[in-house]
Symmetry: C2
Subunit: 356 residues, 2 copies
């Protein structure tokens, strides 16, 4: 398989490494920084370092755009202009509404892996960065089902767990589970630096809860200013909610209300358990075979409906009929109960479905 | 060495394990829960499980009280009433003002290790829990220097880095570096649970920044309600500061002000580096030998003054003269520059000091 990676930092470099090491793919790379490109080649992430974006994508079967969010839509546009007609193009940007709204090309599928590392750059790239990581995809009604399936299986091969989601819901969720924790980490370190410096020259040690809570503080501005701004409406809603919740805690403390504090803490414990259980949901794999007409948007619709219902598609394969008029999509779903729900849901959408 | 541990949960159990495994100490334990006591014995944390607190401390040379903050002062009082005259008594409570104000016995030194684990209970106790961890001590003018030194060396033997601090500053710092991160973790999980559940049955995955930021969410209420309440004034001040900082971020986002966001993020990055550098501060060890009169409070004064100046005492040893009228305290300090500052500071306090 021939893959192109545009932008060879931590994420792009890890995609390239994983594609070469795990899938035996041939990987071309382009980066506006000649230094980054040279490092990626030296690191063994690329088969070929290209001086031009067009050269990198010219014969690719799949392209990953790992550019900063601020130039993402424009870079995806440049890739679509140069990539072959049967090439799937995706990105790894942390916000999805803007880039998806900008491109309705059937070859484009927005994407976002929930993976990262403490330090940026290809030097910190790893072939196992996506192992077990959720990789959100935002297929649209314009998206080609064949190319979506290719991308899905490719991500599965990189070790990730692809999951379809609407761009709007993606950005709302990410505001809460990523952008907001980054803001809080920033606020915490600055607050602590001020408190700790106040005792003359003192700068004493902090504990494990602080280190965990601030691991992502001061993430690279070149990446994060764009992320914050591109999702600023959703993040502002999240911040208002946080402020309201913090004020409620302060009020309970001021009142010395042990019952209220305990109830609040128990709710958090229960919410944490629910989130952990959701992560661990699984079970034996069931295969559903769905007959679908070969028209744009069918695979996207199926994926999004199942995602919305909380059904996680572990893997997917598309078997088109010889005349391309229709096909069968095989969906592998973990767990008896999710598989049953998927079965019902797919049937209710009017597609013939059978357990394999 | 004979050690008693009152309360054999995660922290008490880890003290017991570390004392047995690392120092070859004989450890007696007491816990109001017979189950916890039996588990600790089974886990190999105790040589002897005692049905009564008085029995556990009767012949101890050092006692650690690892009781919930809400019953801490009372439990320390019970220990002081039963412990021998030359036994040092300390605690591991997360807030220090209340317990220190309650006890001016020369045998008592408040303490607090900055260590913890995701799960409570002796089942999760580990002999290496304190390896490299800051262990705050709050010696008072009433504290016996000989007993303080015994405790200091004992903690050093458990792998910890003891550091003297005033109870007030301890509680302010802990509000920022521990209690506030716990509150934020609680708020984040509950906010995420609400957002993630909003898409019908959806409960998708979260990413690494979220997992780190919420590791301590919903910590056991039996411990944490007391901690929050016992430090509620300092925590409320911290929460107001957090709310103000979050509102400023929200305003910068609303204004779409990229420069302000970048400046804010860069400040956080700089503050994080400063905090990390402070943790890593070190260098070759220098030994200072300080001559001190044998009167109460001298060791506490020295420790607190050096702590306030940001000098970390790596280890300490006290050599009393035969007639106990005076003695020499050896202080080991990491780094040329901190050693020089310590030298000057000790001299300015009027104590003869020499580099060994």
């Amino acid at each position: 398989m021939r893959i192109a990676v545009i932008g060879v930092g931590l994420i792009g470099g890890s995609v390239a490494l994983a594609a070469r090491e795990r899938l035996g793919a041939t990987v071309s790379g382009y980066d506006p920084s000649a230094d980054a490109l040279a490092s990626a080649l030296e690191r063994g992430a690329l088969d070929r370092a290209c001086a031009e974006l067009g050269e990198a994508v010219a014969d690719a079967e799949a392209v990953f755009v790992a550019a900063p969010v601020g130039v993402l839509a424009e870079t995806v546009g440049a890739v679509l202009a140069s990539a072959p007609a049967d090439c799937v193009v995706s990105d790894v940007g942390s916000t999805k509404r803007a880039v998806v709204a900008a491109h309705s090309d059937p070859r484009f599928v927005g994407g976002h892996p929930l993976a990262g590392a403490e330090n940026a750059g290809v030097a910190n790239a790893r072939a196992d960065l996506f192992e077990g990581a959720t990789w959100y995809l935002t297929p649209a009604s314009s998206t080609s089902g064949v190319l979506y399936e290719r991308l899905y299986r490719l991500l599965h091969g990189l070790g990730a767990r692809p999951a379809a989601i609407e761009p709007e819901l993606h950005d709302t969720i990410l505001a809460t589970v990523s952008h907001l924790p980054h803001v809080l980490a920033n606020v915490l370190v600055s607050q602590a630096a001020q408190t700790l410096a106040s005792g003359d020259e003192r700068m004493p040690a902090t504990g494990p809860s602080f280190r965990d809570a601030t691991r992502v503080a001061g993430a690279p501005s070149a990446i994060w200013t764009d992320i914050y701004l591109s999702n600023r409406d959703a993040l502002a809603v999240g911040l208002d909610d946080t402020i309201e919740r913090l004020a409620a805690v302060r009020d309970a403390l001021a009142a010395g209300d042990a019952d209220r504090i305990t109830t609040w803490n128990e709710t958090a414990a229960r919410d944490r358990r629910r989130l952990l259980e959701a992560q661990l949901a699984g079970g034996p794999l069931y295969e559903l075979r769905v007959s679908v007409p070969n028209r744009p948007g069918v695979i996207a619709q199926l994926s999004l409906e199942l995602g919305r219902a909380g059904v996680n598609i572990t893997d997917m394969a598309l078997y088109p009929a010889a005349d391309m008029s229709e096909g069968v999509v095989a969906l592998w779903i973990a767990g008896e109960e999710p598989a049953r729900r998927a079965d019902e849901l797919v049937a209710s959408l009017g597609f013939p479905v059978a357990r394999a």
